[in-house]
């Protein structure tokens, strides 16, 4: 199932791109993040807590950023593992200048495995949207913070 | 060993204190600490109703609460409903109408039905079916369960009338 959405950030693409590549910013913005550390170039180790419907879990995983085009786009490969299952995703972020800010278009195809697939699969669309809303609203705050 | 916590509750009229882990569900407390194995576990998402008991007079799926939440409560399980020679009208109804086959869902069915009859002593067929939506039975097709509840409602009404006549 392809999930997608877009969010407007009141900040130019160069700033948004920098924020999206700053581990400290990300660890403040990614919902449920417990830890997020740089683990080589464009590669992070993370621990997040996520609830998908009735299934809650602490996920350990890796995020790798590839196909980076400065201030324009990047691809994220996410692999998370927990006792309640596995969540992998390949996602893209595209930054588009618009008026006095940036529209971030995101798209991704999550792959759920194990118990989270059996009880959470039909909820993933809604969960992803909520998580994305949370992420981008926090990113907006970060953008304001940096600019002020 | 894991942390434990003292819990005191009255089950089928007997008050006792045990020390489960805080995360122990009421159903596991009843089965494992008190040996009341008539209350069954049929699922892990609170749908099947096999674990239904009464907590302070209300039907509760005992997999949906922790034992510690029943601190001080009055709990009734199927073992407290009646025994051979002194059966509850619902136990008799299920027996007479062949309202059970494998018997696994039966305790939960009886506890849910008892809750229904306490609110609605003369339910229609559709009210019975609606009230038992939260209890799964894979054997009976619910046909004789409906009849069992009707049978019990009828006999409870009759004994209430006899009681009234005596008074």
């Amino acid at each position: 199932m392809l999930l997608e959405g877009s969010h407007f950030i009141h900040s130019p693409p160069s700033r948004v791109f920098a924020l999206l590549n700053d581990p400290d910013v990300l660890s403040r913005c990614v919902p449920g993040v417990k830890s997020l550390v740089l683990d080589g170039t464009d590669s992070y180790k993370a621990q997040v807590e996520v609830a998908i419907g009735p299934v809650k879990g602490k996920f350990d995983g890796k995020i790798a950023i590839t196909e980076k085009v400065q201030d324009q786009s990047m691809t994220l490969k996410v692999e998370f593992k927990s006792p309640v299952g596995i969540a992998n995703a390949l996602g893209t972020l595209k930054l588009e200048p618009e008026n006095d800010g940036t529209t971030v278009h995101w798209a991704g195809e999550p792959q759920l495995m194990g118990m989270i697939a059996s009880v959470g699969a039909r909820l993933i669309g809604g969960v992803a949207k909520v998580q994305a809303d949370l992420f981008f609203s926090k990113l907006e705050l970060e953008a304001q913070k940096v600019e002020s | 060993m894991a942390q434990v916590v003292a819990v005191t509750m009255t089950v089928n009229g007997v008050k006792s204190t045990h020390h489960p882990e805080p995360r122990t569900l009421l159903v596991h407390y009843l089965r494992e600490k008190l040996g009341l194995t008539g209350t069954h576990v049929g699922c892990d998402t609170s749908q099947c109703g096999s674990c239904t008991v009464h907590v302070d007079g209300m039907a509760i799926k005992s997999c949906t609460m922790f034992a510690v939440q029943a601190e001080g409560a009055n709990v009734t399980t199927i073992e407290g409903m009646g025994e051979i020679g002194h059966l509850h009208a619902l136990q008799t109804g299920f027996w007479e109408e062949h309202g059970l086959q494998c018997g696994f869902c039966t305790p939960g069915m009886i506890m849910s039905s008892a809750d229904l009859l306490s609110h609605n002593p003369n339910p229609s067929e559709s009210e019975i079916r609606h009230a038992l939506e939260g209890n799964f039975c894979r054997c009976t097709g619910y046909h004789n369960i409906v009849k069992a509840v009707q049978n019990a409602a009828h006999s409870m009404a009759q004994s209430a009338m006899a009681q009234a006549a005596d008074d």
Binding site: P83, S118 | M1, H40, T45, C48, F104, Y142
Partner: protein, 788 residues
């Protein structure tokens, strides 16, 4: 006269323990020093196991052991074999714990044993398995496609077997001159059996004597003893006791040999302590063998008189990742042979391809092959009637095998020994007021009220038999049944039967027959089952065999008791054995009622042997092993009435009439109960239940949140009737009834839904008929001006 119990609605003798919470299910058993097992299951549908790191799990206080597949292989534990073989069958190795590779979500990769259930589950979550994900395939037809992921190397193209029955050339010849032909494409969706009691196993190894006891949720304890003992673990059978206590429903899913039983036995010996495992429902969804899952193309043709000519069926049967115990038999001998139904075909051909996929194994689920066949046959019969513009019941009537045509040889191996189909149909039509309802249906359609009437004039073959035939078809088991009738010195009777009861009421129905045969009170008879240490070898309960096979054995063992009792009576009464009659509960000299001995007198003397025939053994017990001569062939007519809400697509079952012929009825309460439950399960398939795997082999309907179980408000009170056509070859004339409801009802309800949707031009939809699916079908048929 003593009281006769055969035919009476005797209240069940097993119920008092169940209604008071005193049932004894496997998970209720607690043994001294017991430990608990939790399984580590694969979240991947297909993956290589690179490594397993159990250090964190082992470090948790209370953890006793973490077992992996390599431990079992090193100890010489063999994979779990299938119990039925077909020619050129590709058998995948099904290890209790997979050592190298997983092939479905839920496959076991490690087992944790700990002091408590909670610790075991905590530790299982800490076992770190490094997997290398492989591409997966979930649908049978996808698995057969070019370039599909390979589930097992030994089965190229994912083909486990190809099987056929019937005469394909004869079928072609009939199609060549047919008046009309129709084709249907059917998906018989996968179901999860969902006995409400999850599986549970408790192993207790005793060093003294090197003996194992396994308490387990089983329909057939002796099959486990043979498989576990002889084939998997190398335990001598006399050192392995299997106890199957109260079992909370089976529906087929508790026939099979499962990995967890191997694991707890192995662990119990390793730790020298009892080990219990009980499935969570989430585990049941990914580990209990599932049912159905066919993709079928069927074609049939008729002549100008609307007489059926030929039927051609091609099916892809999705077997899942492993061949479970009876998996090869279900879509073949229990499916293709049933294609004839109650009709007079000139030719039939059925071809089945069994495929491996990255899904849970598929095996017998209530009806096992026969519901799938009945669905194909009854759907295509109704479709043909629709295409011909004739009434679906009259079309069937025209094509029934007639009562004077038995024994009837079908083109697909079975020889029906008896049957009389029209009276059952007439009775069902009368009960429903079929003609009146058709008129109401036509009237309703004018006012936007859409009801549908569906029919299934099913036949089923059960009480699988005889052993030699079944063996020649690939069964690795006998299909006879045992009974031991043991009379105590005080005349109390224990009946030991290989048939297992897990809801069927054997303790009552069997006792009724024994009480009649021995002319004693029912309370003097107890039925014992489910313990290999107490019983003679028996084959258990499945395929509606308990009454026709198990009870026949009991009846014949009871006859032996009576024969011996007459000899003892003759001796005591100084009469000839030929002059002794068994009447009024006494063995008496014919015509001289005052010269008689009671059952008690005989039992006592058989044990004392003080005044006793010189050439007769003391004691009073008899064993009989009954191997039936043929299957039995129950049949009937089921009529379903549904109403569709055209605005929402919601389908409601509003009436259900069934007339079944299972021969003489021992206990009407029990027989009707079997029909009720069977119909509800068939309704579940038609309207509610679906097992959904995504393209990666992930089960996305793995809990009761997603998998729609039949609930009280999905059902109606059923209207039940019977006709009685006894089986000519077993001593009581009885035929099975445990599966008939399921076999017939899915097709009847499906036909009713399609009939209801006829005004919308819908000729076929695949089950389950969920509101969304029905609404879409209705919407697609409506003119596009609905916005106004």
């Amino acid at each position: 006269m003593t009281e006769k119990f055969f035919g009476k609605a005797v209240k069940r003798v097993e119920d008092p323990r169940f209604i008071t919470g005193a049932g004894n299910y496997t998970d209720d058993i607690v043994l001294h020093n017991m430990t608990y097992a939790a399984m580590v299951r694969s979240p991947y549908a297909h993956a290589k196991i690179n490594s397993i790191d159990a250090s964190a799990a082992l470090a948790l206080p209370g953890v006793l052991a973490v077992l992996t597949g390599k431990d079992l292989v090193a100890a010489g534990i063999n994979p779990i074999p299938p119990g039925w073989l077909l020619p050129d069958l590709k058998i995948s190795a099904h290890h209790a714990i997979q050592p190298d590779k997983v092939t479905h979500v839920g496959n076991i990769v490690a087992a944790v044993i700990a002091e408590t259930r909670a610790i075991a589950e905590d530790a299982a979550a800490l076992v770190d398995v490094d997997y290398e994900m492989l591409p997966a395939v979930a649908l049978g037809s996808t698995a057969l496609a070019e370039g599909a992921p390979q589930v097992h190397e030994l089965a190229p193209g994912n083909v486990a077997f190809k099987w056929e029955i019937g005469d394909s050339a004869a079928v072609d010849a009939e199609f060549a001159h047919a008046f009309k032909t129709v084709e249907v494409k059917l998906r018989n969706q996968r179901l999860v059996p969902n006995a409400i009691e999850p599986r549970s196993s408790l192993a207790d190894y005793k060093r003294a004597g090197d003996e194992y006891t396994l308490y387990t949720t089983s329909q057939n304890p002796h099959i486990h003893r043979v498989m576990l003992g002889a084939f998997i673990m190398g335990i001598p059978e006399h050192k392995l006791r299997i106890v199957s206590p109260d079992v909370g429903g089976g529906f087929g899913s508790k026939i099979f040999q499962y990995p967890e039983e191997v694991i707890v036995l192995f662990a119990s010996k390793k730790l020298n302590r009892p080990v219990k495992w009980t499935a969570t429902r989430s585990e049941s969804f990914v580990s209990d063998a599932q049912g159905r899952d066919h993709e079928t193309v069927a074609e049939m043709c008729v002549d100008a008189d609307h007489k059926v000519l030929a039927l051609r069926v091609k099916t892809i049967a999705n077997l899942g990742a492993y061949l479970t115990t009876f998996a090869p038999a279900v879509p073949t001998y229990l499916y293709g042979t049933l294609m004839n139904g109650t009709y007079k075909w000139k030719a039939i051909h059925c071809h089945v391809t069994g495929t491996y996929t990255n899904t849970v194994g598929v095996d017998a689920y209530r009806g096992a092959g026969r519901p799938e066949a009945t669905y194909v046959l009854e759907r295509i019969m109704s479709r043909m009637a629709l295409e011909l513009g004739v009434d679906p019941l009259e079309f069937r009537r025209k094509n029934f095998i007639q009562p004077d045509e038995f024994p009837y040889q079908t083109p697909v191996a079975l020889q029906y020994d008896s049957g009389n189909y029209e009276p059952a149909m007439d009775k069902a039509m009368a009960m429903l007021d079929y003609a009146g309802l058709r008129a109401k249906q036509a009237e309703g359609r004018k006012n936007g009220k859409y009801i549908g009437i569906g029919v299934s004039t099913y036949l089923e073959a059960c009480g699988l038999a005889p052993s030699a035939l079944v063996g020649s078809l690939g069964a690795q088991a006998g299909q006879w049944e045992s009974a031991l009738v043991r009379v105590s010195a005080t005349g109390k009777v224990e009946v030991l039967t290989g048939s297992h009861s897990h809801g069927q009421g054997h303790e009552t129905a069997f006792a009724q027959v024994v009480a009649d045969e021995l002319q004693i009170p029912m309370e003097d008879v107890s039925i014992v089952h489910g313990d290999t240490a107490r019983l003679p070898h028996g084959w258990g309960t499945y395929g509606s065999r308990s009454a026709p096979v198990g009870l026949s054995a009991i009846k014949m063992a009871s006859d032996k008791i009576n024969d011996k009792a007459k000899k003892i009576a003759a001796h005591l009464l100084e009469a000839s054995v030929d002059d002794i009659v068994h009447e009024d509960g006494k063995y008496q000299v014919k015509g001289v009622p005052e010269k008689s001995k009671s059952f008690f007198d005989i039992a006592l003397m058989a044990h004392l042997a003080h005044n006793y025939p010189a050439d007769l053994e003391p004691g009073l017990e008899a064993t009989h092993f009954y191997d039936p001569k043929n299957f039995v062939y129950p049949f009937g007519t089921h009529l379903a009435v549904v109403e569709v809400d055209a605005n929402t697509g919601h389908i409601q079952l509003i009436r259900y009439v069934c007339v079944d012929d299972c021969g003489p009825i021992i206990n009407p309460l029990i027989v009707e109960g079997q029909v009720h439950g069977g119909v509800a399960q068939g309704m579940g398939q038609a309207l509610l239940e679906n097992t959904v795997y995504d393209d990666n082999g992930q089960l996305t309907s793995g809990s009761y949140l997603e998998y729609t179980m039949p609930r009280a408000d999905n059902m109606v009170q059923l209207e039940i009737g019977h006709t009685v056509t006894p089986s000519p070859h077993n001593p009581l004339g009885v035929k099975g009834i445990g599966e008939a409801g399921t076999i017939s009802s899915t097709a009847a309800i499906a036909n009713a839904v399609i009939d209801a949707l006829e005004p919308f031009g819908v000729k076929h939809l695949d089950m389950p008929y969920t509101p969304e699916k029905v609404w879409r079908a209705i919407s697609a048929s409506l003119p596009q001006a609905a916005d106004d």
